[in-house]
C-alpha cells in the first residue's frame, strides 16, 4: 500500500532521481555515438555498444519503471522471461554453428 500513500517529500525525492537518471542517459547517449566515431574493431564496438545500451536500459527499468522498488513474484517472472530470451538469442548461434551443410550462395 505504501506507494499509494507517498508523501509529497518522497515524490520530490523521486523527481530528483529522475532528473539525475535523465542526465545519465544523455551522457551515455553521447558516449554511444562518440565511441562509434572512434571506429573500433567490430568485436569491441559490439561489446561497448551493448554494455552502454544495457546500462541505459537498466536505468530506465530500475528508476523510471520502479523495478528497483518492486518485490516478490515479478522478479521470478522476469527472470524466467530473461532466461527464455537468452535461449532465443542462442538460436542464431546454434543454427549457424551446427549445420552440417555448406551455404551455397
Amino acid at each position: 500500500m505504501s506507494h499509494h500513500e507517498m508523501t509529497a517529500e518522497e515524490v520530490s525525492h523521486h523527481v530528483r532521481t529522475y532528473l539525475k537518471v535523465f542526465g545519465a542517459l544523455l551522457v551515455l547517449t553521447v558516449i554511444t555515438v562518440g565511441v562509434f566515431y572512434l571506429h573500433l574493431p567490430i568485436v569491441g564496438a559490439v561489446v561497448v555498444a551493448l554494455i552502454v545500451a544495457s546500462i541505459k536500459g537498466s536505468l530506465v527499468a530500475c528508476y523510471f519503471m520502479h523495478l528497483i522498488s518492486e518485490r516478490g513474484l515479478i522478479y521470478w517472472i522476469l527472470a524466467l522471461c530473461a532466461l527464455f530470451f537468452v535461449v532465443l538469442l542462442l538460436l542464431p548461434v546454434i543454427t549457424d554453428h551446427e549445420a552440417v551443410g555448406t551455404v551455397t550462395h
Binding site: 500500500m1 506507494h3 499509494h4 507517498m6 509529497a8 515524490v11 520530490s12 523521486h14 523527481v15 529522475y18 532528473l19 537518471v21 535523465f22 542517459l25 544523455l26 547517449t29 554511444t32 555515438v33 562509434f36 567490430i42 564496438a45 559490439v46 555498444a49 551493448l50 552502454v52 545500451a53 541505459k56 536500459g57 530506465v60 527499468a61 523510471f64 519503471m65 518492486e70 518485490r71 516478490g72 513474484l73 515479478i74 517472472i77 522476469l78 522471461c81 530473461a82 527464455f84 530470451f85 532465443l88 538469442l89 538460436l91 542464431p92 543454427t95 549457424d96 551455404v103 550462395h105
Partner: protein, 276 residues
C-alpha cells in the same frame, strides 16, 4: 461499466506480487513484448551472421542517418522523463501539472514520428541499380550504382506479383557523390538490358534494410499505440482525476510502464541498427 463486479486488488497491491492487478498485468504483457523483440533481434543476428559476402553494410551508418537517430534518441529519452514526471505530479495531486507533462510527452512522441517520417521518405527516394555488366562511373568500374532518379527519368512501375520494380526500358540516374565529396558525377543513362535489379532503399533493397524497416516500423507502431492511450488520458484525464485521483495515477503509472518499455527498446535498436 454497468453491473460492475468489484474485482479484488483492483487498487490495493496483492501480498504475493506487491502489485495491483493492472500493474502486474502490464508487467506480464511487457514480458511477452520482450520475447517479441527478442525473436526479432535474434533473427537480425542470425541473418547478419549468415549474410552472403558484401550484402550487409559494414555498419548501419553507411546507409542510415546517425545524427537524426541520435536526435530521436534524445527526444524519446526526454519523453520518458516527462512521462514519469506526469505520474509524480499526479501523485502530489497536482492534476494540471500532470496533464501538462502528459501533453509534453505526447508532443515529443509526435516529434519522434515526424523525424522518422523524414528518415523513411528519404529512403524511398534513393535508388540502387545492380548491373549485369559493370559500368564506369567517375573513373571506377562498378557493378552497382546508387543515386536519385533524374528529373526527366521515366517513372518506374512495380510488378505486383513479384513485389519489386519492373526492369524499365532505361533509366536516368544522378549517382551519389563519392565519399568525402559534394560533386555528383554526371547523370547516367542505364539501359534496361543491363539492369539486373533495381530497388529503392526500402525494405526490399537488402536484408539489412528489411530488418531495419521491420524493427523500426514495429517500434513505430508501439509509439503510435502509446500515443493513442496518452491522447485518451489527455482528453479525459482531468475529469477522471477529479473523481478518483488514486486510480488515475495508477492508470498513468501503467501507461508510463509501457512508454518506458518503448523507450527501452529504442535504446537497444539505436546502436544495433545504426552504429554496428
Amino acid at each position: 461499466m454497468s453491473a460492475a463486479v468489484a474485482i479484488p486488488h483492483d487498487m490495493e497491491p496483492h501480498p504475493v506480487t506487491g502489485m495491483y492487478n493492472g500493474k502486474f498485468g502490464l508487467w506480464l504483457f511487457l514480458a511477452s513484448e520482450v520475447m517479441l523483440f527478442g525473436a526479432l533481434f535474434s533473427s537480425y543476428v542470425l541473418l547478419r551472421m549468415g549474410a552472403p559476402e558484401g550484402t550487409w553494410p559494414k555498419h548501419g551508418a553507411e546507409i542510415l542517418n546517425v545524427p537524426l537517430a541520435t536526435f530521436n534518441t534524445v527526444v524519446l529519452i526526454t519523453s520518458s522523463v516527462t512521462m514519469v514526471m506526469a505520474w509524480a505530479a499526479l501523485k502530489m495531486n497536482n492534476i494540471a501539472r500532470g496533464q501538462l507533462f502528459l501533453t509534453v510527452t505526447f508532443l515529443l512522441a509526435g516529434a519522434f514520428l515526424v523525424v522518422k517520417y523524414f528518415e523513411y521518405s528519404e529512403k524511398f527516394n534513393h535508388f540502387e541499380v545492380w548491373l549485369k555488366e559493370p559500368m564506369v562511373v567517375d573513373g571506377n568500374s562498378v557493378s552497382s550504382i546508387r543515386g536519385h532518379l533524374a528529373k526527366d527519368c521515366p517513372p518506374l512501375t512495380k510488378e505486383t506479383h513479384i513485389r519489386a520494380f519492373a526492369i524499365p526500358e532505361f533509366i536516368l540516374l544522378d549517382p551519389d557523390a563519392p565519399a568525402g565529396s559534394k560533386e555528383h558525377p554526371p547523370t547516367l543513362r542505364i539501359d534496361g538490358g543491363n539492369i539486373r535489379r533495381i530497388s529503392d532503399f526500402g525494405p526490399a533493397h537488402s536484408t539489412f534494410l528489411a530488418t531495419y524497416f521491420t524493427l523500426t516500423g514495429l517500434h513505430g507502431l508501439h509509439i503510435i499505440g502509446g500515443m493513442v492511450v496518452i491522447l485518451y488520458f489527455m482528453l479525459t484525464g482531468s475529469r477522471f482525476a477529479q473523481k478518483r485521483p488514486d486510480k488515475y495515477a495508477d492508470r498513468i503509472e501503467c501507461t508510463g510502464l509501457y512508454w518506458h518499455f518503448v523507450d527501452l527498446v529504442w535504446i537497444f535498436l539505436f546502436p544495433v541498427l545504426y552504429l554496428l
